[in-house]
Symmetry: C2
Subunit: 244 residues, 2 copies
């Protein structure tokens, strides 16, 4: 019995879960992904291989490969100096990202709206409740939790679209817009919280009714908001920079 595959005849194997063998590189990659989507790095911040390796308590090898992967999906940027940084925010890039996100995530939610099972719908409804719960005790604004919950809500829907091609593209888009979004949420967290829950409720309602068009519209409104916030902030800063 040298085989690695679990055999039904083995009564012990049936009780054991496969232990999995994820590599250090994968852990580093996923950790950096999490940090980027969560906005833990700020735009234009420069990252060094050895610095990250120290922080993550590994050698440079897994880090450099993870950085390379993040650069190819445009989550990070390779400077001509060969140093790498998280891409800076510009108005053009924001608009570009928003257009791509409405296009692709809109398509994904339209597909999901006609495919989600009642069980899946129940899951995102439960998330709605979790959201209200968090908002109830809003004495401390827990931006991290807010971001995480928002991500979980959206991807629970996207997963249901059934497209193995669209979902990675959406993840890439979130990776790219993560740093921007965090800046927007920080700047407008008070104004943002209320509306987010409202839009999410609209989305759930539309999906429950299997109304693809309504779901898409609600989603577009949801993801457009932080971009609009950020845009107004950037424009204000630009104007201020002019006058000073």
């Amino acid at each position: 019995m040298q085989k690695a595959t679990a055999e039904k005849s083995d009564p012990i194997a049936a009780q054991l879960a496969p232990v999995g063998r994820e590599t250090v590189q994968d852990r580093v990659y996923l950790e950096l992904r999490r940090a980027l989507i969560g906005g833990l790095f700020e735009p234009s911040q420069v990252l060094t291989i050895r610095g990250l390796a120290d922080a993550l308590m590994t050698s440079t090898m897994p880090v450099r490969e993870a950085l390379g992967r993040l650069i190819t999906e445009k989550a990070l940027e390779a400077l001509p100096n060969r140093s790498v940084r998280v891409p800076p925010i510009t108005l053009e890039r924001m608009d570009d990202l928003l257009r791509a996100r409405t296009l692709i995530e809109g398509e994904a939610i339209a597909l999901a709206a006609t495919r989600m099972t009642s069980r899946q719908i129940a899951t995102i409804e439960a998330m709605l409740g979790e959201w209200d719960e968090m908002r109830a005790l809003k004495h401390k604004k827990d931006v991290d939790r807010e971001v995480t919950l928002n991500q979980a809500f959206h991807f629970e829907i996207y997963r249901a679209c059934g497209s193995a091609v669209l979902i990675p593209m959406i993840e890439s888009l979130w990776l790219q817009s993560g740093p921007c979004i965090r800046v927007a949420i920080y700047a407008f967290s008070d104004a943002g919280e209320v509306d987010t829950a409202h839009y999410h409720r609209t989305i759930v309602k539309a999906i429950a009714a299997q109304d693809a068009k309504e779901a898409r519209d609600a989603l577009v409104a949801d993801i457009s908001r932080p971009f609009a916030f950020l845009r107004s902030k950037l424009e204000a800063e630009a104007k201020e920079g002019m006058s000073v």
Copy 2:
């Protein structure tokens, strides 16, 4: 004068082109990309780091990093055995890829249709002529050249859409559908050539007229064809497999 930046005041610097410093890893990555889009690897083929390193005449280091990057953009697939292969063809994946491509490339060409300068339009018109030229001496069917020219034509248009976010996504989609397309072209190269030129002419005409909708429709028809070919081939094989 230690500075690396070219200075206008220096009469010598004005005549020298920057030498550039692309890494071995980049060359390996681009070479593998080219091979994948061109369909030089066949679906389900397994690739080894040391094998590629020998073929490319480098050490394993640049190759493994390039493979990692290609895996993150789904151009290659990491098996649980930790070996990597080019993804196999399935009907579901084909439909998935086609849907994503019509969605995103359709949007890109619609944007390009309203933005292309007369100079850019002249460029793709010239490509049309090149296509006819190649078809004129079709005694030997040069599939490589056909694939290359087709790619150049499409990306000349996509580049004009002005979206730094959409273009890399399109490249990723071509990377993923490259192996499938090559199989389709090989199987139906005789039937394919004529129509390709026709659709490309329609596309150019629509763009020249700045008709975004017509351009999108023509593009969708163009990229749907090889997928439809491949689909009929796969279905035929599946039926054959049933009866045998």
